[in-house]
Amino acid sequence: MTNLTREETEALIQEVVAVYPEKLKKDRLKHLAVNDQEVEQSKKCITSNRKSAPGVMTIRGCAYAGSKGVVWGPIKDMIHISHGPVGCGQYSRAGRRNYYVGTTGVNTFGTMNFTSDFQEKDIVFGGDKKLAKIMNEIEELFPLNKGITVQSECPIGLIGDDIEAVSKKANAEIGKPVVPVRCEGFRGVSQSLGHHIANDAVRDWVLGNRDNDDSFESTPYDVSIIGDYNIGGDAWSSRTLLEEMGLRVVAQWSGDGTLSEMELTPKVKLNLLHCYRSMNYISRHMEEKYGIPWVEYNFFGPTKIAESLRKIASFFDDTIKEGAERVIQHYQSEYEAVIAKYRPRLEGKRVMLYVGGLRPRHVIGAYEDLGMEVVGTGYEFAHNDDYDRTIKEMGNATLLYDDVTGHEFEEFVKRVKPDLIGSGIKEKYIFQKMGIPFRQMHSWDYSGPYHGYDGFAIFARDMDMTLNNPCWGKLKAPWKKSEDSSSEAATA
């Protein structure tokens, strides 16, 4: 199917929102836009980071999800207490596939769930005593932990527990960092505020810990990877490229990261920022306080990788610049082979994306390297600055949707008829049942890594595996097949 024109896309948006009541329609229209590369500022065409409308489906998370699930959770050698009732921690446990190295339960705790399991009496009488007790228990049972964070769930804010006081006391008792994080789920409109709160907690409780300690031997080539959560090993496949070009990666934030890496980050020379949405706050802070510049990069697909490697190298001397060229050269035959193999199978296919964080714009380059086209993209929880960065990446007259509702997304898909959809688990089965190939792009559909040259090979394979799977043609129920196909079956 050919692409829609600008007028057709505008008409489609109007048609889709027509079912809404007047007020909701007016509100939702602000979140839906037709991309226009001429627009310099996204706020002129799209509104974002607003409260979701009640009564329509949204796939947003909460502040707790942003802090515990995204920013703090992957710090592997700290214990993150889900402070409050048991469900929040248990149902989000180990779902994000932040890979790490270590012995779980001994010196790393990434996939475990620690919770204060609030009962009625804790709501009535307060949970501070319980929290203090838990911390002592943790110290006794898991002595190799390097610190504790308290990730507040909604009731903590509602009943007004003083987790800061408990944390300070525990910190003095056990002599390890104890970080209270005020990331109650009801704060903000999406997980985005949780990222911000978590960043602020890192700033206030962790970052300055080694300010007067110069024992760390730094080199002129120290960098840190910020905002890579090592989903399926993403940070590892990024790290190898950076190390091959001669840089020394001091810290990984926060996939496969440790507390001491975070504490050492102020000693690096450059912060490499992958997920702008969730970690720009701390990068800006480090730029102001420690004078460490930061640079956004994109490790999806060879074109963007080469661009990013050169951009990163431009902050360093010639040895690193040569290193970047060497790395690109080294992998050239490899990625050319990947493109040669998969491009003919994927050429011209159209993709619609709806994810969070950085992916709705970052993966566009990888699809384009495979000859595919992204015809619609949207974020769950982006802000204006994300859309500013997206508009340039997307083609003209493509769809942009912010915090899309279930109804809108399905209708868009029915009309735009993409060959592939990349979104989350909650959308996966709906679209698969509609007979449309689908990739779960939050955690790479249990595959990965997708970052770096190694990741690109896996990305290309996965897209081909999904798109060209013979099952999609067999999804129509027998009684819904047209007359002639059934008569064919009868004669056969």
Partner: protein
């Protein structure tokens, strides 16, 4: 009054950042931009202007400041 941050962008120009609104905008002009006096009214690329109390010396960027919308 709003907390803002001014930093040097990739091209060396001044960039204005207002965290509350996620507004990241190039600064077109700054009223006082000399080593003795720095600040005053600043004009943004999107047409807005803000006022920051002039500083006695050119600050080390980036810097967080309080700004008033004009």
């Amino acid at each position: 009054m709003a907390n803002i941050m001014i930093r040097k962008g990739e091209t060396g120009d001044l960039v204005f950042y207002l965290p509350k609104k996620d507004l990241e905008e190039a600064i077109l002009s700054l009223e006082f931009n000399s080593p003795e006096r720095w600040g005053g009214e600043l004009k943004l690329a999107d047409g807005q202007s803000y006022y920051i109390e002039p500083l006695d010396a050119e600050p080390k960027l980036p810097i967080s400041l309080r700004a008033k919308r004009m």
